[in-house]
Symmetry: C2
């Protein structure tokens, strides 16, 4: 459904979003128009005609060699470690996060993350009995000075979790300076960094910053392909320091033995097709740039939402400026109007998200967006009365 999210509140919203006639700005569903269908048909033919026996059989716990190599090559595009022996293929990045947490976080350990943050991660950390350290962020991502201050005053972390490109939900990009600072803090205070980077390929200008793994030996990098290619194969990977790959592989074996071999064969062939990936990414970036621009224009026209126009990713993080309109109430009213949106509070740890919405520009086509925004305005009118009603009445 949504890499981004579901605590139960969001699960309910996503269920509502799937109902007939409902338009959704809620989910983190990539645009189906972005899926590389033609190339996939070719690759499926190749797999079935030349590698079926292997692709349909069990494979190694750590992943099919071509898939590990493909992920290592992708990792190399933004710097950091590229040895395929450091790669573990996982069933989505969510599994990478779960395995990392289960293998490395003990009850009572502290995990730091940006507030607001990806609540799928928060659920996993809480499940493991971790204490959460909420670190504020701004348009440059996690405020590493604030983290450093907490550490100087005695806080200790086992893990620091970051979504460095087009953060969910804020769409912030962690600056290179802060990436280096975080790496330095990890070395100094001995914590591990989980770098979860599913949106890096969705930079509208194609520019990605270096991985934190380029600056530190203490990084576990989660490499998703769900937004880059499509979510349906559930093939992702992680890159980890050599000392951690053993325990993570054992955890993977216990969890599900291995990621589906068929998907690994398909995805690794797709990634290695000459010229495919750069061409595909250009198309993807152009598609999402157009959608974001379109939705930004429509939302801006409402006059009661403020937001920074994102430079990539899938989401707007928009603040409600009308007095008395609360995000949860607005969300409930929007569902009545046939529109699914996500309110801020489920993403928040310490801060108040009650005046924020997360709005995805990825799922609807530009032609559906005016109607979605019309419904959003109707929902607001339900909640606060039509604008200017007092003056007019």
């Amino acid at each position: 459904m949504d890499r981004a999210a579901p605590p139960d509140a969001i699960r309910d919203i996503l269920a509502a979003a799937a109902a007939p006639g409902v338009l959704s700005l809620a989910g983190g569903l990539p645009a189906p128009d972005s899926f590389p269908l033609t190339e996939l048909v070719t690759v499926l033919d190749e797999v079935m005609s030349s590698a079926a026996a292997a692709a349909l059989q069990y494979g190694p716990v750590e992943g099919v060699p071509a898939m590990r190599a493909g992920l290592a090559a992708r990792a190399g595009e933004t710097g950091g470690h590229t040895d395929p022996d450091r790669v573990l293929v996982t069933s989505g990045s969510q599994q990478g996060l779960a395995l990392t947490t289960n293998a490395l976080v003990a009850p009572g350990d502290t995990v730091a993350l940006e507030d607001p943050g990806y609540l799928g991660a928060v659920r996993v950390f809480r499940q493991a009995g971790a204490d959460l350290l909420a670190v504020p962020g701004d348009e440059d991502g996690m405020d590493t000075e604030a983290l450093a201050g907490r550490l100087r005053r005695g806080a200790r972390c086992r893990l620091v979790y970051v979504v460095p490109h087009f953060h969910n939900p804020t769409a912030a990009v962690l600056t290179e300076e802060r990436r280096r600072h975080l790496a330095e803090l990890a070395g100094h205070y001995g914590f591990l960094i989980v770098e979860d980077d599913p949106y890096a390929d969705l930079a509208f200008d194609g520019v990605r910053l270096p991985s934190i793994d380029a600056f530190s030996d203490r990084v576990i990098r989660l490499l998703s392909l769900s937004k880059t290619l499509c979510p349906g194969f559930r093939v992702a990977g992680l890159v980890a320091p050599p000392a951690l790959i053993g325990p993570l592989t054992t955890a993977k074996q216990d969890a599900d033995l291995q990621t589906n071999t068929f998907g690994q064969h398909v995805v690794s062939r797709l990634l290695s097709r000459p010229g495919f990936l750069p061409r595909h990414l250009l198309r993807l970036q152009s598609l999402y740039r157009t959608r974001a621009g379109h939705l930004a224009g429509l939302l801006g026209g409402l006059g009661w939402l403020t937001f920074r126009a994102p430079r990539g990713g899938l989401f707007f993080w928009a603040a409600i400026t009308t007095a008395g309109v609360d995000a949860a109430t607005l969300t409930a009213a929007a569902i009545e109007e046939g529109l699914a949106i996500v309110p801020g509070p489920p993403f928040c740890i310490d801060r108040d998200g009650s005046r924020h919405l997360r709005l995805s520009f990825a799922t609807l086509s530009p032609s559906e967006m005016p109607e979605a925004v019309r419904r959003l305005e109707l929902a607001r009118a339900r909640v606060s009365g039509p604008r200017g009603a007092a003056a007019a009445g």
Copy 2:
């Protein structure tokens, strides 16, 4: 690699088995000749031409509706509950086992299982901090009278884990009487039964006994398709009592969000093709019956192994009758000769497996078997000297 197994000793053996030139009687790899290639090509075309946008997208945590319905229908073939709302799609049965254990077993809880037993399960139970209660078995499967005796004397279990058809490693089939007895004990003593049944479709005569779920409301049934269709899609499911489906679905969401949508579309379509499954199972059963018969003849000819000829499944559980030949030593010698086999001890909890081997008849073709058995004899000769050497010399 092997649904059956790997503690590290077995992982090493399976790695050795994959080396060029090595013949393997070790792994639980289904025969590639058994994969339904023609039908898969047709189904892949269907999925890409008529359902690509859905098959490549995220899907529900609990599984794609058609897949849940397909698994429910399969469950109904051997009795028990068939409501699709009781089905959770999992990434292999190993994941069903891991989710069940993580959601339901607390440190210090007792889990009972047959000794010898599937060590992939033992690893998961131990990882959860469970105490193991080893229950003896015989050619009729787990000795439920022995379990009842332990319970009468005060033992309490949270779970009882059984592999009721063609048990791994012993190939025993739990009788219907014992299935009913186990169900009765579960009701009386309040434990849950995990019925892990990946080999049920591999009965040489096509006869399967009723599921324990037909006799009890306390069963979590693991439905694998890896041996029935092929392992490569990693699509399986579990059927659980209504009160447990919620916690298991939440555990699934935290673990990996969902099982790969593409595989669910392919496998559910394959299962629902008119006439496909009965025809496929006949072919499968004939193929394995032939292989088992062939290997039984060759192993019987050695004169130093005794075993019950299996009626299905993938494995022989063979006892070494030559004095002084130990299974681990023989396994090491066999690798030297280019043959992978699995010794008994990794499957054993309390009992002594040092005189047993688990030998798979599934992976090698009949034409490769004579050479494999020749190497086994060479390995034995290395370990104990050629037979009759003293008399001849």
